[in-house]
Amino acid sequence: MIRGLYTAASGMLASMRRMELVTNNLANAQTTGFKQERTATSTFAEALIMQDGSPSPMAPTGSRGPLGQLGMAAVSEDPLVDFTQGSMQETGRAYDFALEGPGFFSLQTPDGVRYSRDGSFTRDGLGRLATGEGDLVLGADGNPIQIPGGKMQVRPDGTVQVEDQDVGKLAIVEFDLEQPLRKVGNNQFAPRNDGDQPHAAQGTAVRQSFIESSNVDMAGAQTTMLELQRAYDASQRMIQYQDELVGRAVNDIARPTS
């Protein structure tokens, strides 16, 4: 009977966790180059629950013995970053770059090389191409790109020109599917496994004076939010029912009739 209480509580927990992702997606609805995260609530019916702490008489000492099957209301799955291309937004600003295709810009940050889809760049005090936060944009040769004064243009292949002279080429890289990325803040990504090295991107074009909008699906997020709230309420009610049932069992069933 109490087990049902846990089932309902796990449902509330799963809704809560998913809500954290939805609110983060919504907060970043206007963040340049943002990639939304999704989690599915897995719908598998039963999960084996294990005994914690004291060893079970059924199992060797120290191991966790099985307690039985627990019908899980919901389990939030591993959040996945959705790398779908965001829409292109024209800004008319010369130092805005957007990537069309799966590539990333390479940035030199105090924590090492990081990768980003946010190409709203500027220059630093020494005239090097940089982000607004001061991280340097790396060129294909691994060095920052120096921009002398004059009219700056970027070609689709990432070649940077000032007054029609080549001054560098942006390092546009991509990762293989088996090289997962993690978010590190400031719209940047890092490989989840430290050793993973990207390779030069194929088929990614740079578009000047454009930015890539956040790929958050606002309508979808609202629907998910409603769904989560209902699921949460339903689980909450289940807990109340369970509580009432336990209350009955304790107070009524055992009450001696007089």
Partner: protein, 260 residues
């Protein structure tokens, strides 16, 4: 749960800031030489939080996963693209076609920079900005000057009451490595900052410096339609984040009223 509330609140604050900047752009639209700005949104670094995930044995275990923390706004990004040069027929209206800036000295003695504007001759015959800041190096008209003119190469000519023309100085242009980082102090004046680098001397006509246009003012590059679009986008995103806060609040309420 509190985290979700905070995350949604960060979205509300960031959109508020975007609305402020768009409103600021709209008010500056009529000021010659004013440039459009926009807020940069930066995702906050995720935090490790515990999620119940399915483990290899078909059970559920708690595992640390990164979960987002919301958004913050970073440095405002300026669009420094050239505005259209509008003829004004005022010989002391000066615009720069290019990145070059004119150096002026504030009454405090500090050097400031401007991308042009309406200059005038003050009571002492000095060439000053509309707000009274003197050009640096200063240009002073000799006694008996009726008016001054500026030529495209920056040469300043004094025309005497008898119509005699005399070259009395030259406007010089400087540029900065990162003009976007300059501090706007109003009246079209900019101050250098650590992020902008030092003033680099140049001559009018050089690439990266540009040319001087007299009798012209640079119109603002702020496009009202663009700003309106931004206001609408920010407003919608603001509303969505408020709704998220409300939903989280209702969920919290649901949790706290569990025991009636």
């Amino acid at each position: 749960m509190w985290t979700s509330l905070r995350t949604a609140a960060s979205g509300v604050l960031a959109q508020q800031r975007a609305l402020d900047v768009a409103a600021d752009n709209l008010t500056k639209m009529q000021i010659p030489g004013s440039k459009s700005q926009r807020v940069s949104f930066l995702e906050l670094a995720p935090e490790l939080r515990y999620f119940g995930v399915q483990d290899d044995q078909g059970g559920i275990s708690l595992e640390a996963r990164e979960a987002g923390n919301g958004v913050r706004t970073g440095a405002a990004l300026q669009n420094l693209s050239q505005g259209t040069l509008m003829p004004t027929d005022q010989p002391l209206d000066v615009a720069v076609d290019g990145d070059g800036l004119l150096e002026v000295m504030l009454p405090s003695g500090q050097l400031a920079y401007t991308h042009g504007g309406s200059f005038r001759m003050d009571g002492l015959g000095r060439l000053v900005t509309a707000s009274g800041a003197e050009l640096s190096p200063g240009i002073t008209a000799p006694a008996g000057t009726a008016q001054m003119e500026v030529k495209p190469d920056g040469t300043v000519i004094a025309v005497s009451t008898e119509g005699v023309r005399q070259e009395i100085g030259q406007l010089k242009l400087v540029r900065f490595n990162n003009p976007e980082a300059m501090l706007q102090i109003g009246q079209n004046l900019l101050l250098p900052t650590g992020g902008s680098g030092e003033a680099i001397q140049g001559t009018a006509g050089e690439p990266g410096i540009g040319t001087i246009a007299s009798g012209m003012l640079e119109s603002s590059n702020i496009d009202p339609r663009e700003e309106y679009l931004r206001v609408v986008q920010a407003q919608r995103a603001y509303e969505l984040n408020v709704r998220a806060m409300k939903t989280v609040d209702e969920m919290l309420q649901s949790a706290t009223t569990m025991r009636r």
